[in-house]
């Protein structure tokens, strides 16, 4: 089985996007694109599904609101109601106006941190994780398209090279070693 990988390097995000569009139209499967900043529209070209992270954030937020209200209800209404300045704590409903600020803050707290944590876990971002970008300049000024031989059984990677060069790639290199290591 071939572990061959082709890395096509572009200096311009739009050329990179168009080259990917061209490849996908030809039926070539593009494994990954590494870029120094987001290329708008590339996720559609590579058929990367839309992220559901904002839906998760909504549920974290709802959890926050619930937990916050539950906490305040338990502490100030259920467990030890206090009557301070003639303002007793009778029920959750009568106290709700006073519970709005903290309820809101806990909602934001849990929604924000829940979403950040989900983002870190889903993207495998942890302190000290090894970087996976094959070309160090892809965080600087190169847009790198990665095509793996295994994904494209009937296609010769060598033939793709000239095609990519015609579409604005400045360099195409084989990156066999990295996959051999794994």
């Amino acid at each position: 089985m071939s572990k061959a990988t082709l890395l096509a390097k572009f200096t311009d995000p739009d050329e990179c996007l168009h080259a990917c569009e061209h490849l996908v139209k030809k039926g070539v499967k593009v494994r990954e694109v590494y870029s120094p900043f987001p290329i708008h529209g590339i996720d559609g070209v590579l058929s990367v599904p839309k992220t559901r992270i904002s839906t998760a954030a909504f549920f974290y937020g709802a959890t926050g609101t619930t937990l916050g209200l539950l906490m305040m209800w338990y502490m100030n209404v259920q467990d030890w109601p206090m009557d301070i300045g003639g303002k007793p704590s009778f029920t959750l409903l009568t106290n709700l106006p006073a519970f709005v600020p903290v309820g809101f803050e806990i909602t934001v707290l849990i929604a924000a941190h829940g979403m950040i944590a989900t983002y870190f876990f889903a993207t495998r971002l942890f302190p000290g994780m090894p970087a996976k970008n094959p070309e160090p300049r892809s965080t600087n000024d190169l847009f790198v398209v990665e095509i793996v031989g295994d994904d494209n059984p009937g296609t010769s990677l060598n033939d793709l090279k000239s095609d990519l060069m015609n579409h604005g790639a400045i360099e195409c290199s084989d990156d066999v070693l990295r996959y051999e290591d794994q």
Binding site: T11, I84, R124
Partner: protein, 470 residues
Amino acid sequence: MLIESPIRQPLILGDKTYAQITDEIVRPIEGRANKMWYLVFTVAALCALWGLGLIAYTFGTGVGVWGLNKTVGWAWDITNFVWWVGIGHAGTLISAILLLFRQKWRMAINRSAEAMTVFAVICAAMFPGIHVGRVWVVYWFFPLPNTFGSLWVNFNSPLLWDLFAISTYFSVSLGFWYVGLIPDFATVRDRQVVPFMKKIYNIVSFGWSGTTKSWQRFEEVSLVLAGLSTPLVLSVHTIVSFDFATSVVPGWHTTIFPPYFVAGAIFSGFAMVATLLLIMRQVLNLQEYITVNHLESMNKIIVVTGSIVGVAYITELVIAWYSGVQYEHYAFLNRATGPYAWAYWIMMSCNVISPQLFWFRGIRRSLLATFLLSIVVNIGMWFERFVIIVTSLHRDYLPSSWTMFYPTWVDIGIFIGTLGIFFTLFLLFSRTFPVIAIAETKSILKISGDNWKRKTESKYAEVGEHGGHH
């Protein structure tokens, strides 16, 4: 590709390439600091140590070493607290609200403004902590089950709301800031040649690789965090204003406080951002990224929020008169003509009159004028909090208790200490972090870069000549 109107001024000057942007922003991290940096850092660090020493002295001896008395139980410390929290607000405004409004000029300044937020909130949070007197039981702030029966914290109290607001604000700002930093740390990591540096930036960049999926998630997270931070930042100063507005002290018991405090916070925060950026762009040679246009945009926000603050001051006076309450009448009369009138008029002239100079384009675009006025605004906003807090308290309902507040050297020293802490942290930040969001700046190069704008303009001109109708 997006194309921007040629009327808009370019946001990145000089004919930049992506590699140049990386080089010029990362260079200060890799190079050696000059003598000036060490000098300023030493002064800031000494101030910070001095402040920490005085905090230790306060703990050891008691809050009696401050100028507080029976009538004025809140003064210098709470003034500093509100002032620092307010300064923090600009960072979130720039990174969150301007993101939602798709303002591209935020990209050159959001990183350092967010850093400023985090450091300012650290300085702010110290004051309520050290003010409690018995600092060893400061954890009683939190809703913890305790050993003294099941008595809980009071969720009807604005002071507790404030604790939740400030803690949430600090931690969410820190998270938002770090999420944005990860791709830029990866950029720094991938160009390091010194193994130690590479290792450090490898750890802090969390293995960022810049794949399609990670960028997609990154953008979604940034957008939703901005959406969460926007009401959050408005809530924080609203709740800070509740500390005063929910009391029955004349001059504090005001429904106008929340919007008035939020506008004031953004006003002072932008002034602090302007002060810091004017120094930073000079020292780190970033004039082509933080341009006069950026400063002009900030000055426009300063003039808007300054005018809102001015309207609030005058509304307060009118409503005090209109209320028909003699205590309210006296509180405001005393502010403007009493023993603290000098503070009131410093506040009025610094916050209401001086920012009006920014209506003139020449002044708005003058670096020197911006720098001087930004400092004037910061002084004015400090006095605003001082005036609200001290003049309302020092002559309360009981004339026999009327007194004056004078800060002691400990009060002043702790304030100087927080300035030292703030600048120490900011100077360290400027030497170790990319001070401009590299990835975001690159993403607007083809739209707002000087060279690219020229290119698209000439393309347009060509199309026009050949009768490019469709």
